[in-house]
């Protein structure tokens, strides 16, 4: 009877996101080995997610875990009392997750437990109710709980990604899409589509709104879209550039680039009053502003030194200090959540990489080794950076850990994917 249930569990767990195979190009030296046993299905009916697969993929993508393959498992237990630690030690699994899904009156009840194989004990067990549409959410939630329990860091599996794709038929015949997906790339949903380019998506600090640049009637403008309602509001559409928006940490302001006065300059738009404050005044290019987590500084790219370099502005005094001095191209900077470091695009030996700089020590480390790497965006727990890169003729998304030790290539979602932006936490 038990084996029949398992067979159903495997058969019914439709691999809806089978294309999302992760490729770990580099990982930590001693990843935590974890076995996630296929969840037993305790009632009839199909599920659109293989929870165990989802959880092990999530954990593995962090670079800190390595999955124990299903094919090596000596048994596939569901209830906790069927977990024999000896069996798991034999296949070198340090932790084992077991669980079940049962249908109840309102939807489903997922039950799971995390076992410490060498400590021979249950670290924690939980019941999570939900409906069939939230099974992926439950999978991400369980992943977060396991990750937090074993690493001591907050998980990022329930966060979201925003990115832009382009389908090209010819130079002037393209379809651009702004896509919202789960952090693992699952459940991609087009939230805005245009035959004209879409650029610079940015999250509001509470994750409820996104700002981006798009062209309407062939003129660029900055728009803010509320995710829950789909409502779109225009922030600016001046002649010239309207680009690179970034929210202030309190969500009330937007720093952006306008060239209405002749040159690309930074402005701060008060979203409540509509008031615009000019922040820079220089004949060079000033753009790609990013607000610091404490709200006091704005990091931006400027060509005022002849080549694009990063500069830091004190928001109150508008005084500006140059930040990068190594290399002839440093741009598109973003802060880590603790505000102590920045990530940016750095050109070295004619190749574009993602680099990180500690703002106190000024030490720079290059995190990637592919070429044409751009648009770095830091996960809200500060452990990973997502960025756009290219492989032959294709563009794709990559993940790299903040110390450069873990590198993950995300499977291609489109022939051309760009500008990934990691959401904040939603809770």
């Amino acid at each position: 009877m038990r084996f029949i249930a398992i067979a159903i569990a495997i058969a019914l767990a439709l691999p809806a996101h089978a294309e999302l195979v992760i490729e770990i190009t580099r990982g930590v030296e001693n990843p935590i080995k974890i076995a996630v046993v296929p969840f037993q299905v305790k009632s009839s009916g199909a599920f659109d997610a293989d929870l165990a697969r989802l959880i092990e993929s999530n954990l593995e993508r962090s670079g800190q875990f390595r999955r124990v393959g299903r094919e090596t498992m000596l048994s596939l237990p569901g209830p906790d009392d069927e977990v024999f630690y000896r069996d798991w030690r034999a296949i070198d699994s340090e932790y084992t997750v077991v669980g079940s899904i049962a249908r109840d009156d309102d939807g489903f009840l997922v039950r799971y437990a995390l076992h410490d194989v060498y400590g021979e004990r249950i670290l924690f067990a939980e019941r999570v109710p939900g409906d069939s549409s939230s099974l992926r959410d439950i999978g991400h939630y369980i992943s977060d709980r396991i990750y937090e329990s074993l690493t001591g860091l907050k998980g990022i599996f329930s966060t979201r990604l925003l990115y832009v794709t382009a389908e090209r038929r010819s130079e002037k015949d393209q379809t651009f899409k702004l896509i919202l997906s789960d952090a693992d790339g699952g459940r991609p949903r087009t939230i805005f589509q245009s035959s004209e380019p879409i650029l610079s998506p940015a999250w509001s600090p509470d994750g409820s709104r996104v700002a981006y640049m798009s062209y309407r009637a062939k003129r660029p403008g900055i728009y803010i879209q509320t995710l829950a309602t789909g409502e779109v509001k225009r922030v600016t559409s001046f002649p010239g550039l309207n680009s690179a928006p970034s929210f202030s940490p309190d969500g009330r302001k937007l720093v952006l680039t306008l060239s209405k006065d002749g040159n690309p300059e930074l402005y701060v738009a008060n979203l409540r009053t509509g008031e615009l404050t000019r922040m820079t005044k220089h004949f060079a290019i000033d753009t790609e502003a990013s607000w610091s987590p404490d709200g006091r500084s704005i990091l931006f790219t400027s060509s005022r030194g002849g080549k694009p370099q990063l500069y830091m502005m004190n928001v109150a005094s508008k005084t500006i200090k140059r930040v990068t001095f190594n290399g002839d191209y440093n741009s598109n900077g973003a802060f880590t959540p603790d505000g102590e470091s920045i990530v940016f695009v750095h050109r070295t030996a004619k190749r574009f990489h993602i680099a990180q700089m500690n703002l106190i020590t000024r030490q720079i480390s290059i995190l990637t080794e592919t070429d044409l790497d751009e648009s770095p965006s830091v996960a809200p727990n500060g452990t990973m950076v997502i960025y756009a890169t290219s492989n032959n003729e294709k563009s794709l998304l990559g993940l790299v850990s903040m110390d450069g030790r873990v590198r993950v290539r995300l499977p291609s979602v489109s022939e051309s994917v760009r500008e990934p932006t990691w959401s904040p936490y939603f809770n």
């Binding site: 610079s200 790609e288 500008e419």
Partner: protein, 198 residues
């Protein structure tokens, strides 16, 4: 050939007229007597016949002559305009730039001159300048770079006499590459300003 000659003569007249216009009051006094004798001579030869008729005839003749002159001038003007236009239409509409640069290359100037001539000759003509960058470097920076390139072309055209209101410009940054080749040969083609007549 005859047409060309006429155009040349008409062209001279036009230039003289323009010069006369520029000179203003003084010139008018000088040119007035020069016309007078011609009229008085013709009036004298036909004085014996009907004075009223002849004066009307003369007026009509003069009118026809003036009209022919004007027509010729207009034709010539049209021909010149046509020539300027066809030259502009045959000129290059793609102008290329170096990496991370927005200054015009020397070899762009001849073609831009042809466009400028047409745009100054026909003030109703309008162009849209689209600035582009190659895929290297970051997207928002490249958007600014594309605008700078379009601005370089705008500035050059304005210096040549084109009205600012005849030019509309937009930057697409690296979003609309002409070439998908990911090396110098492809990037070279993508760092450009496209001039499009509206």
């Amino acid at each position: 050939m005859k047409f060309l000659k006429q155009a040349k003569v008409a062209g001279t007249i036009v230039i003289l007229a323009v010069l006369a216009g520029c000179a203003g009051q003084v010139n008018e006094e000088v040119t007035a007597p020069a016309v007078e004798p011609v009229v008085s001579k013709e009036t004298a030869s036909s004085a014996s016949t009907n004075e009223v008729d002849s004066s009307a005839e003369l007026a009509a003749k003069a009118k026809a002559k003036a009209k022919a002159k004007a027509d010729a001038a207009a034709d010539a003007e049209r021909a010149t305009a046509e020539k300027i236009k066809s030259k502009a239409m045959a000129a290059d509409t793609l102008f290329f730039f170096e990496f991370d640069r927005s200054d015009l290359k020397q070899d762009a100037l001849n073609d831009l001159d042809a466009h400028a001539k047409y745009l100054t000759a026909d003030r109703s003509a309008k162009v849209r300048l689209e600035g582009h960058a190659d895929e290297r470097g970051t997207r928002a920076y490249n958007l600014a770079l594309g605008e700078r390139r379009a601005n370089s072309v705008t500035r050059y055209l304005v210096i040549q006499g084109v009205n600012r209101s005849q030019i509309e410009s937009v930057s697409y940054g690296e979003e609309r590459p002409l070439s998908l080749v990911r090396d110098d040969s492809g990037w070279l083609r993508n760092r450009r300003v496209e001039l499009i007549y509206q």
